[in-house]
């Protein structure tokens, strides 16, 4: 039971982190038609900038400064390069961001070195947010904090939930609400929504659409930067971090439906939960069948494919999911267009 709750929460928090990234990616894609290949690179830059800023003035200011810096860099990139190749079509735009991902990776290694840096979460977020205590008499109890008093006793199982994960969920939900309010309740949000579908009309009404594009690109990368500060302090800040989430967020965007924000949300949570559960489960096909009491022949029991445990298969699950979605529902979970 507590394994299920903790895994579920871990999965949801990971899914929400994925959504912080994929929401920016989706916004940029649905607006400009550009799939920002370097989106995960901005996530990495966010983590590294957050690391440097938090070393000097603390974690909480870094949470504000790093996204701003990353957003400014993103807007600058859009202004200087992306706008220039916009007239060549979508493939060169994708290629420009692809080239940028190489450059960012090398620059990050140039500035911060090739090994991981130590970016700990602030004092307030260390340790567990709450602990599920499984008492010897099979009752469950929720204790805020580390619950040191109860966990020492015999027959008691403790499952802590890290505070950083909780914070990650909190920030993601706040961001989601803020984004939704911005898009639906403000004037700038109206212009953005209008520019999504009818850019020429918006332009002829006197709005500067290229500037709106630049702002959206900056905002999307700023969200990636925010995710970077939180992801970097929760997980590990290293040059490979962009590659680890990069391809997963593309899967999220395709599975959710290209350009659909609710779809991205659903797909992020699904993939986050699936992957987290898979990592935690050590069952293989062979062990499962044997548990059910079915005897297996020697050859079957030692078959390397059947012996793979779910946790070993976990890294490929998002991609398998992608393939299945493409075969059975090509426009994605909540997508509207089949492009």
């Amino acid at each position: 039971m507590e394994f299920f709750i903790i895994s579920m929460l871990n999965g949801v928090s990971y899914g929400l982190l994925l959504f912080m990234l994929s929401s920016g990616l989706t916004l940029i894609f649905s607006m400009m038609g550009v799939l920002n290949f370097a989106h995960a690179s901005f996530y990495m830059v966010g983590a590294y900038v957050g690391y440097t800023v938090s070393k000097h003035i603390g974690f909480w200011p870094a949470l504000v400064v790093a996204p701003l810096v990353v957003g400014a860099l993103g807007a600058l990139f859009e202004r200087l390069t992306l706008r220039k190749v916009h007239k060549f079509g979508h493939v060169p735009e994708l290629l420009v961001t692809f080239g940028l991902s190489y450059i960012v990776l090398e620059l990050v290694q140039l500035v911060w070195g090739r090994t991981a840096v130590e970016f700990p979460p602030p004092q307030a977020l260390r340790g567990p947010a709450f602990t599920l205590v499984h008492h010897a008499n099979d009752s469950l109890e929720l204790v805020w904090g580390a619950a040191q008093a109860a966990c020492g006793a015999e027959g008691v199982l403790c499952s802590p939930f890290p505070a950083t994960r909780g914070f990650m969920m909190l920030v993601a939900v706040l961001m989601l609400v803020a984004l939704w309010l911005l898009l639906t309740r403000t004037r700038i949000g109206l212009v953005i929504q209008a520019a999504l579908t009818h850019p020429e009309m918006v332009e002829s009404l006197g709005h500067n659409v290229p500037r709106v594009f630049m702002l959206v690109f900056g905002a999307g990368t700023a969200l990636a930067g925010l995710a970077g500060v939180i992801g970097g302090s929760t997980f590990v800040t290293e040059p490979a971090m962009a590659a680890t989430v990069g391809s997963v967020i593309f899967v999220v965007v395709v599975v959710g439906g290209m350009g659909s924000l609710p779809g991205a949300f659903l797909a992020s949570l699904l993939i986050g939960v699936i992957q987290t559960f898979a990592v935690g489960l050590d069952h293989s096909f062979v062990s499962l069948v044997q548990q059910m009491g079915v005897p297996l022949s020697e050859g079957l029991a030692s078959n390397p494919v059947l012996r793979l445990t779910l946790s070993q298969v976990a890294p490929i699950l998002p991609y398998l999911f992608l393939v299945l979605i493409l075969i059975f529902r090509p426009k994605g979970l909540l997508g509207t267009r089949e492009g």
Binding site: V91, E106, S247, V254, P304, V323
Partner: protein, 431 residues
Amino acid sequence: MATTTHYEFKPWNVGRWIIWSLFALLLLVAPKVFGSNLAVTMLSQMGIAIVACLSYNILLGQGGMLSFGHAVYSGLGSYMAIHALNMVSNGELPVPVSLIPLVGGVAGLFFAMLLGYVTTKKAGTPFAMITLGLAELVFAMSLMFSEFFGGEAGVSADRMAGEPFMGITYGPAIQVYYLIAVYTFVSVALMYAFTRTPLGRMLNAVRDNPERVEFIGYNTQMVRYLAFMIAGFFAGIAGGLGAINFEIVTAEVVGTVRSGGYLLFTFLGGATFFFGPIIGGVLMVFAAVLLSELTKAWLLYLGLIFLFMVMYAPGGIASLIMMNLRVAAFGRLREIWVSYLALGVSALLVLLGAGAAIEMIYHLQLDAAMGDVVTYLGAPMNVRSASSWFGVVFVTLTCLGVFELARRQFMVQWSDIQADIEKEIKRRETQ
């Protein structure tokens, strides 16, 4: 004159024969001119890279399909080829070593048939994402199935397996080179022939205007799928050649870095012309073997070059060559050589200055323990003295200013000349 309606005048295309003979001759004499061990190894790798980049260009250049996972097909081809080679060594498979690359090709074709069905359902940006996802899938699988993929160590084999054929054992590198050269020549010829087939032409049409192709009655998905399989076949041949050349295959051959490399160099060489990827393949080997020896920052330079290429010359090096040939054909090259000189010299100086700065930062970041002095092009520079930094920054910025001035001047001249040429072409047409 009713009888002549069916008569078709086919000139003997002399230019084409000359070019292909020259290409064959080049492949033949290259190891005689550059005879060192390093040169022969590089030439072999170039042959492989040329086949791989050309097969990639069937997708990118001719089909408008941006794939991030082409290494899957060359890599799986490599694996199948090396397993086949091992079976030949054990006497289980009666196939001469010379035909092993074909095993790779068939494997590439098979996997392209399998995975391409899902991939080519879409075009454009979703296509790119799916290829990326599949590439990640295969790479993640390569770490799971260590029986087939050999885990960290990879799979190795001995290419001197089987009976020697006419004294060819594939022991010396030069024999492997000639095997690769033959395969390269035949593959390049076949891929060129493919661009002339109706399918090749339809592929171009699908790239340019899929909607119209659908209206004419073609299935664009089918055209993409067929082209994808052909690209997979030639990628597999490149992979099989790689397996024979290196005698070891590790999981990185299916990795996304390798796929990214194909994309990068095919584009740099030029995706809009058939011969562009040949330039790209040659550059790929030069970059991987020589540039990476020269500097640790080579990926940074590569990324920057790629970025500028996409922004200012989306047709790659091949298009730059063809544009200048056109200018030369109209006799206008003489007017701009001064600008070229100015551009070249200032760009070279900017590159020198920026290169020095990058090397100094890399030294500070990575080899600080090796002392404060870094040798850059033979000149010792102290990374902790203000004067060397000032010098580097001063040179870079000044030359950057000069370069920008020269570039503006050049752009004015260039667009004038292009406008004149367009006018001239129109005039000749009306005559």
